[in-house]
Symmetry: C2
Subunit: 115 residues, 2 copies
């Protein structure tokens, strides 16, 4: 993955709203139709549809139309780049703490050998 993946912008931005995160959580439990998803949110349908559009543009969900009903489901691996990026930072951070721990252990040993 490129160091600066513009899609990461979209994914984090898509998740920066509690309504959209609620949709992701709901879909983590299984697919649902737009009406079903919308019924849990007190907002106008076009506004809610706007949220779904952002999630889809970010690659986090997929939608399909069957007759007059649009079904939504999480995209397989849609969230993976987000999780990967966070794991990278965690690894960098942990590596630093490991170095710090090693440094402290070294200092302690030096003090112990002095006595």
């Amino acid at each position: 993955m490129a160091k600066h993946d513009p899609n990461l912008n979209l994914k984090f931005a898509a998740l920066s709203d509690e309504t959209r995160r609620a949709v992701v959580s709901r879909l983590a439990r299984g697919p649902a139709s737009v009406s079903e998803l919308a019924s849990a949110h007190a907002m106008a349908l076009p506004s809610f549809m706007g949220h779904l559009s952002k999630l889809e543009a970010a690659g986090l969900i997929e939608t399909t139309k069957k007759g007059r009903v649009r079904y939504c489901r999480l995209s397989a691996d849609g969230i993976a780049p987000v999780t990967h990026w966070l794991a990278e930072q965690q690894a960098l951070w942990t590596s630093r703490m490991d170095q710090f721990d090693a440094y402290v252990a070294k200092i302690v040993k030096e003090r112990t050998d002095e006595t």
Copy 2:
């Protein structure tokens, strides 16, 4: 953690920009001064400072002033709520896949017993 944590909005929003993610990655390797951080980004200093403000408001970094230099470092556990929320969704999704796997295994067994 509340189901809808407004701070999660701020954290995801703070990470929805590649400049701010670059800052987080840099700080994962150790603290740095504002000038040091800014030197890696082609933008006016006040604009860059705006990014640091958003990261700080989101609780992802902490800054301290020593003389005329402002130092930045990652907040311990600042990113934890983001990681936790993602882990929750992963668990929900995985739980669904487990149910699906169990269902498939049951179907396969039924077909096998028929022969």
